[in-house]
């Protein structure tokens, strides 16, 4: 519970657990609005259901009309694809499946790592329209959880519930007190999960208004060096970074940047994005932007 007396609405969505905390219990209608938004997002973007839009694009090349949030995802991925030299890409779905992380959770590699196709050769993403030159495995997992948190926050705001905290299993979006609602609410103290031991924290960050998202190689890992953060240029899991955190105004951006930190130095990303960051490397040391608030231990 982020604040004393708040209530929580929990549910499963897009393959993970969600907790929406609000000062007062959400009505049935409001809960339904949230679940509808989750279902709509899943129906468009899930790699794990055959009726989704991206599952269609994995079978048949062509022109796909995507939901409005695609207009945010496209440019975000495009920037990070460029900054990472192609390592971070929405075309990583087929590479993930090759290593066993596909529908059905086979979790056994089918062969050697498979590099992702080059964006400029197979994909044209203009706003909400996707045009593909061949069947492509689109996976927006690096930003999707964060973006859905943003969308749920927008739903709550439109319902007049300006104060809320959304916890998407460790990716957090805090509305803060909201404009004209300075209730003196303290920031939420957030522990940073230890990359090798979920029972420990490596630090604490006070979260005011904004998003704090994490990416880690310790979870969604299925043994023998296999985990879900793949380098698109090789199709193999990233080894040098084991965990990262990013703070930004929107959860989509924070979520995407947390993954980008696996490929690109935080200081480089900061030249193009307004965010704070912390990266833990596999040799046990950490680097962070000097504007981070909190403690590291």
């Amino acid at each position: 519970m982020p604040h004393p007396g708040w209530t929580e609405f929990s549910f499963e969505g897009i393959g993970t657990r969600w907790e929406v905390s609000t000062p007062s219990p959400l009505s049935g209608a409001h809960r339904r609005r949230l679940l509808d938004a989750v279902e709509a997002y899943d129906a468009a973007w899930s790699r794990f259901r055959p009726d989704s839009l991206v599952a269609g694009a994995a079978r048949t090349p062509g022109r796909y009309e995507l939901p409005p949030e695609a207009a945010v995802l496209g440019p975000l991925y495009q920037s990070l694809y460029r900054l990472s030299g192609g390592a971070m890409t929405p075309l990583i779905g087929t590479s993930l499946e090759r290593l066993g992380y596909g529908a059905g959770y086979r979790l056994r590699p089918e062969g050697p790592p498979l590099p992702a196709p080059r964006w400029e050769e197979v994909l044209d993403w203009q706003g909400t329209v996707l045009t593909t030159a061949e069947p492509v495995g689109i996976d927006i997992g690096a930003a999707g959880k964060g973006q859905l948190a943003d969308l749920l926050s927008a739903v709550l705001n439109s319902c007049g519930i300006g104060e809320h905290l959304i916890d998407a299993s460790g990716d957090l979006l805090n509305s803060g007190p909201g404009p004209g609602l300075d209730t003196g609410r303290a920031p939420v103290e957030v522990a940073l999960e230890h990359p090798y031991d979920p029972g420990r924290a490596i630090g604490i960050i006070p979260l005011g208004a904004g998003a704090l998202c994490a990416s880690a190689a310790n979870r969604r890992a299925w043994g023998d060096g296999l985990h879900h953060v793949l380098d698109g240029t090789t199709g193999a899991p990233v080894r040098t970074v084991v965990a990262s955190w990013a703070l930004a105004a929107s959860a989509a951006v924070a979520d995407a940047l947390a993954t980008a930190l696996f490929f690109v130095d935080g200081a480089r990303l900061r030249r193009e994005f307004d965010f704070s960051w912390l990266t833990v490397y596999s040799d046990g040391h950490a680097e962070y932007s000097t504007d981070l608030e909190g403690a590291l231990f």
């Binding site: 509808d36 945010v72 969308l151 916890d167 103290e189 522990a191 924290a201 704070s276 000097t290």
Partner: protein, 151 residues
């Protein structure tokens, strides 16, 4: 010893708004087609607990690890101490062969902590954890199955 981050003002939430692009508060257009049940993309193995260190016997374990990074081959020594079913200590010995690692450390003086140790969650007072320990039930269940097959 703690490393304190410098004070700052976090960016406001007004920077990037998605309001209006998804469902508003008005009823959805096709409510009949959208059940209240969670998205069915994970198999129904909810409640699978994340893998815990409790499966390991007490003792001290060490190993060297080699891996190929974009900067070339790196080697680290890792020593884990397990007590009472939990990891009580982690010692990681970087082998400073990678010139880029040293370069980064030079460039980010003040923004670097040489060794992350951590604290037990019950030693600190927080209301939320930022990480990824609670991933999908289906995924965790599949991993558990593979582990049992590996035994």
């Amino acid at each position: 010893m703690n490393t304190s981050f410098r004070k700052s003002v976090l960016v406001g939430i007004a920077g990037l708004s998605l309001a209006g692009t998804a469902a508003g508060c008005a009823p959805a257009q096709t409510p009949a087609a959208q059940g209240a049940t969670p998205a069915p993309n994970a198999t129904s193995a909810q409640g699978a607990t994340p893998a815990a260190a409790a499966a390991y016997k007490d003792g001290t374990y060490s190993a060297d690890g080699n891996y190929v990074s974009p900067n070339g081959t790196e080697t680290v020594g890792v020593e884990l101490t397990v007590a009472g079913g939990a990891v009580s200590d982690v010692k990681i010995t970087p082998h400073p062969s990678n010139p880029n690692t040293k370069k980064f450390q030079g460039e980010f003086a003040g923004g670097i902590k040489s060794q992350i140790v951590g604290k037990k969650l019950d030693e600190i007072s927080v209301s939320k954890v930022a990480g990824s320990s609670l991933t999908s039930g289906g995924f965790n269940a599949a991993v558990t199955k593979i582990k049992s097959q590996a035994q």
